[in-house]
Symmetry: C2
Subunit: 494 residues, 2 copies
């Protein structure tokens, strides 16, 4: 007869894990690499990863071609991704109907983060990785960042390091801390989702070249550097179990069921109809396929551009691919209000055409201001003025970060957390709602509730000292409960 273990809310196993994560987020001793050593290491890695990225024309794009019938841009192998047309009708936002190119990548990739205890403190295994679309070459990626094409070796490259930690982890004695499919940019991708996975490994896993172990405290500090912690790292870190809220009930403006009721109301009442169509069909609808770009006739939104990449270090030494180049710097901001000592985020139920199920929760503001220049003032994104005019002492986080450099060229957004004044925020529009970080952490266990931009801000929110609850001394909890926990971890290895 197999043995049962306690699980669910407030299980001892979850409590110990929370204490260990809290320790990693605060400990200032025992790091595998000091902050100074990290930057020295990164400076040393950069030149090793130099990539030559050159704009080219579609005609010269090796391996990629426009389909003779549909006009879709795809790889000859049928793998990787394709650029297709999308037609959208919606009752949300200033424009009711439009067409656009969109990236279709039905495969599910793995964004995997290995964590391991070193000197009694949990560390994350981070990778110095170059991507062709990165504005600055190398950024910090999670341990594994692999599409199915990568790890089934469609392009005949070398094996993905550490992939084995994320395949059959229990059987290897590892422990899964998080594993959930999450969407990515719904304006640029059609129904894209990646697997966000955090796995705790043992001392047998060591950092190879290009990899380093960093604590959560270090990663939180690095998040304040421009374009350093990449999008994949941010999304997978956001899926870590919430360690900041202890067991038992937790205060919030709205109950959890009221939050779910609000989400379902937003899903049910919005109508958005999307249809993938041949790229050729949208050419008459504002988009132009040129020799070296697919672009909007007014130069708005984004372009699709072909590039050649050469590198001595990636899975393959050189390749070509299209990239989506957004026009203008994005603004992604969360208004936060501390109510009775509890920080609440103002979440927005966003419709994006590429979402699987109509809406996901985005941050308070998410836009590229330039795209609104041609629209009437009434179409200006709500709360944008409030964010742009916030007094400096109200700004708790303000860093320019990049979106995924494997698909997007120079895609940068300014990510902000702004402490809201109490004035004028009681009467918010129906598609906005105040939620606590604990409530966001709960939703992040499940797929397709919190969008990729909000996920970056969840990581940032957990790193802001002003918003972090006072926790008891966690070292003691960790020691006392370690034995209990070991039992729980063992049980899942079947």
């Amino acid at each position: 007869m197999p043995q049962l273990n306690a699980t669910g809310p407030d299980s001892p196993s979850d409590a110990v894990l929370a204490a260990r994560l809290a320790l990693s987020a605060t400990a200032t001793g025992g790091e595998a690499m000091s902050d100074v050593e990290f930057f020295a290491w990164l400076d040393e890695r950069r030149p090793q990863h130099h990539q030559e990225v050159r704009r080219t024309s579609f005609a010269k794009l090796s391996g990629w071609q426009f389909d003779a019938e549909t006009g879709d841009l795809a790889h000859r192998s049928g793998r990787f991704f394709s650029v297709r047309g999308l037609r959208v009708r919606t009752d949300f936002g200033p424009v009711a109907e439009w067409s656009q190119p969109i990236i279709r990548q039905p495969e599910i990739g793995i964004l995997g983060l290995a964590v391991r205890e070193i000197n009694g403190v949990l560390h994350c295994l981070m990778q110095a990785k170059a991507e062709p679309g990165n504005v600055n070459g190398v950024q910090l990626s999670p341990t594994v960042q692999a599409t199915k094409s990568n790890y089934t070796r469609v392009h005949g490259g070398s094996a993905v390091p550490y992939l084995e930690c994320f395949r059959e982890p229990w059987q290897r004695g590892h422990r899964v801390l998080a594993d959930v499919l999450q969407s990515e940019q719904g304006s640029w991708f059609f129904c894209k989702r990646n697997r966000n996975m955090v796995v705790e490994v043992g001392p047998e896993v060591e950092a190879r070249e290009d990899f380093c172990w960093l604590t959560l405290r270090q990663l939180h500090a690095l998040l304040r550097y421009e374009n350093l912690v990449n999008m994949d790292s941010r999304t997978v870190l956001s899926c870590l179990p919430d360690w900041q809220h202890g067991p038992g009930p937790s205060p919030a403006l709205h109950s959890d069921v009221a939050i779910r009721n609000w989400i379902t109301t937003q899903q049910s009442e919005r109508e958005v109809a999307t249809e993938l169509v041949p790229l050729r069909e949208i050419e008459s609808e504002g988009w132009h396929v040129g020799e070296d770009r697919i672009a909007h006739e007014r130069g708005l939104y984004f372009s699709i551009v072909p590039v050649d990449v050469s590198s001595g270090r990636r899975e393959v030494a050189s390749w070509s691919q299209p990239l989506l180049e957004p026009h203008g710097l994005g603004v992604v901001a969360m208004l936060v209000r501390v109510i009775d000592g509890v920080p609440h985020c103002l979440m927005h139920a966003r419709v994006e055409p590429g979402y699987l199920d109509v809406i996901e929760l985005g941050p308070t503001v998410q836009c590229t201001p330039e795209n609104y220049a041609h629209l009437p003032a009434s179409a200006r994104p709500r709360f944008l003025d409030l964010v742009e005019r916030a007094r400096p002492e109200r700004i708790l986080f303000d860093t320019v970060l990049s979106e995924e450099g494997g698909r997007f060229l120079d895609a940068q957004s300014r990510y902000l957390i702004v402490a809201a004044d109490d004035d004028g925020l009681d009467d918010i529009p129906a598609d906005y709602q105040w939620m606590t970080l604990r409530q966001l952490g709960e939703l992040l266990k499940y797929s397709h509730y919190v969008n990729v931009q909000a996920r970056t801000l969840v990581v940032a929110l957990r790193s802001v000292p002003e918003l972090t609850p006072q926790l008891p001394d966690v070292r003691e909890t960790v020691t006392v409960a370690a034995a209990t926990d070991e039992g729980a971890a063992r049980a899942d290895r079947r």
Copy 2:
């Protein structure tokens, strides 16, 4: 400054609600209507709802037509639903590639259940409702069962009774107990989802003609009658908060994160590509559009048939519509194993082409045995033999129930719960997993994890005395905590 309330795991509010639901599931006094009175009432309602359902030909189908270009069958108004073609490629199941007709109904309907305290016990407001596809005319539906076309009155019928309870419930002083989008049959519907909503109302809401108040104990007893509690009632009841598991950690074979890891693994590793195509295209692929049916060349699976309905009592007096008529009686069965006193269900990660995100969790067995007759023995559904050969004392639930009579004609399945022997069940295939009812209840708070057939069995599982945990006397808890709870309910009315 607004007031915060305790929410999340083990909140006093949730604990009181659980005690009140437990009371409703066990109380044998205080019912608004005795069991005898209920059947007398139902017998009286039946003749009032007589519907004449006559098979007709597509040519005579009023309001519906085949599109000249695509061959799709749709209503002239563009509302309700349409019958389109679907092309599927998958690595799951005995057939890797097929085409089929499928119902496309992008609108999100409401399945709403009003509950109210009568004589200190929670009662559900049930409706005696006829549907044209019902094998026996009237079944018990939830309070509201309305498509968007219904409640926006596309067909010019009368207003949907009680709809107002589910629109802006907090503002009316009602309390939402559950609200979540859930999928329906993924073999017959393409990305169909309905809103499953339970709302607690006050004494101002009374039962009109055709409606009656029943306790959970009564509904559980009625679930054992053939074709009585309809599919919509079953799915919405399954979304009620789990009242059988107290606060704090709960024992289970696998931790909650291990369960999520297993689900994500199944989602990531299966490949299923679907494409809606014109119905005309699949005519050359095994399906035939005839004068009075769309049917498979071998007579398998299902047909689409046109019917005329006349009724003096529905929103409109008479109408025509197509219905999907499955061939053969379905078998839907859950193997249950009590481990260390805790019942575990053997869930199956099912691929169905109409699911939004590749897989959902189905029961151990879900099939129409006749559809496998032409396939080799190796293709026979796993565990079907075990279910069919179960000794009578092992069968904890066994009732023939209907699927939704508004879309399906005479669609019946035999729903079973079978207590498994311990032999041969330790080494289960990778796409099966043992989960507790508490774990299923947790997943049911979120969309698209538990399929519609499994949801029926969740209700049945909660009704089986052999599987119900011993609960403390709940009447006391209810009284003591009622005051606390009132505060929490108030807070969400903003």
